[in-house]
């Protein structure tokens, strides 16, 4: 069976490689794809959308609906993960709890302490199966994380002009939180960005996108027409477009950041969101 499958794979691959002969050569300006559609976008996109970056013009303007519903897909993915993996809040899991003395590094073990003691300045709780305690890793990550977040914000804000945008910037921003969870522990992440905040953020991003679209309708233009922002605060048409795309990118970035943090928290903690990777 395995040999037949291998033969089938090799035959299909050979057929694909043979059929590549009929493709237009790479970057051929005479190929059908480059003759009509690409030329239209390259020549007309700036005067139609007033967006310097062609890719953003296609993603944000010509295919605004597509990008909006992609954001909804990301939001739905986070929601589905939450509904499937998350355990009910009031499940008290008895077991072993470990506390580390901050001064000496000694670890104390407590049996079945369902009621955890509150904030204690001399002891900190450590995970039972993942106790990261490394000063070098923790301090390096603490120094690097602000720069990663700044870069993420830059990518979101410059999606209008350069490669990047809401999706990429949101992912970079979420990666900084994942780094925080890996270098410290999951409770530090939950303390900084608790579940209420992430869920509100993921929904607010989608609502911001819809809101920009509905603003166009309210001003008597088409849905997601960024020209509607012209005249608001005395802006020109070009800066109206720019602000519209910036708002949309911020919305996408919020949803993507929150969704990825939600999924990471749930996956790494088996749905309890108390201790994990």
């Amino acid at each position: 069976m395995k040999k037949t499958a291998l033969l089938a794979v090799i035959l299909t691959g050979a057929l694909l490689i043979l059929s590549m002969e009929n493709f237009p050569s790479w970057g051929d300006v005479q190929s059908p794809a480059s003759l009509h559609l690409s030329r239209h976008f390259i020549e007309k996109s700036y005067e139609q959308t007033l967006t310097p970056n062609l890719v953003t013009a296609v993603l944000g303007d010509y295919r605004g609906f597509d990008t909006m519903l992609e954001t909804v897909v990301v939001f739905t993915a986070a929601l589905a993960c939450f509904l499937v993996i998350r355990l009910p809040r009031d499940v008290c899991t008895p077991g072993l709890f470990y506390y580390r003395h901050m001064g000496t590094g000694l670890v104390v073990r407590k049996h079945d302490a369902c009621e955890l003691p509150g904030e204690n300045p001399t002891f900190e709780r450590v995970d039972s199966d993942w106790p990261p305690h490394d000063v070098v890793v923790a301090s390096t990550c603490r120094m690097v994380i602000p720069f990663i977040q700044l870069f993420g914000l830059y990518v979101v804000a410059h999606g209008h002009y350069s490669p990047g945008g809401g999706f990429q910037g949101g992912v970079i921003f979420a990666a900084s939180y994942v780094l925080l969870a890996v270098s410290h522990d999951l409770r530090t992440l939950v303390h900084r960005l608790n579940e209420r905040v992430t869920h509100l953020l993921s929904a607010a991003g989608v609502l911001l996108f819809f809101g920009v679209g509905l603003f166009g309708l309210a001003m008597g233009l088409n849905f997601l027409d960024y020209g509607a922002l012209e005249g608001v605060l005395g802006m020109s048409l070009a800066s109206g477009h720019s602000l519209g795309i910036l708002l949309v990118e911020i919305g996408v970035g919020m949803t993507v950041t929150a969704a990825l943090v939600i999924i990471f928290k749930l996956l790494s903690s088996r749905g309890t969101v108390t201790e994990g990777l």
Partner: protein
């Protein structure tokens, strides 16, 4: 971009794909998959698709590897097949 580097990246893509399928340890499969994504990112860059390369680097090589590692950490590390 120099064509030798492009060819090297393309060969590495194929090697990483085969290695990720054959690895018995899920952890190493996830890490090899991260390398695969990064080499794909180099390929997109060589083709001039900077936006796609950016997305591949951030999502493919970055966050999806972290999500896979989180899932492996909470399930089993060895494959049955």
């Amino acid at each position: 971009m120099i064509w030798e580097i492009k060819l090297l990246a393309l060969i590495l893509v194929i090697i990483c794909a085969i290695a990720a399928i054959n690895a018995k340890d899920m952890l190493s499969a996830a890490v090899i998959f991260g390398i695969y994504s990064f080499m794909m990112c180099v390929q997109w860059l060589a083709m001039g698709a900077v936006d796609v390369a950016f997305t591949e680097a951030a999502i493919g090589a970055g966050i999806s590897t972290a999500l896979m590692l989180a899932a492996i950490f909470r399930t089993s590390r060895r494959t049955k097949d």
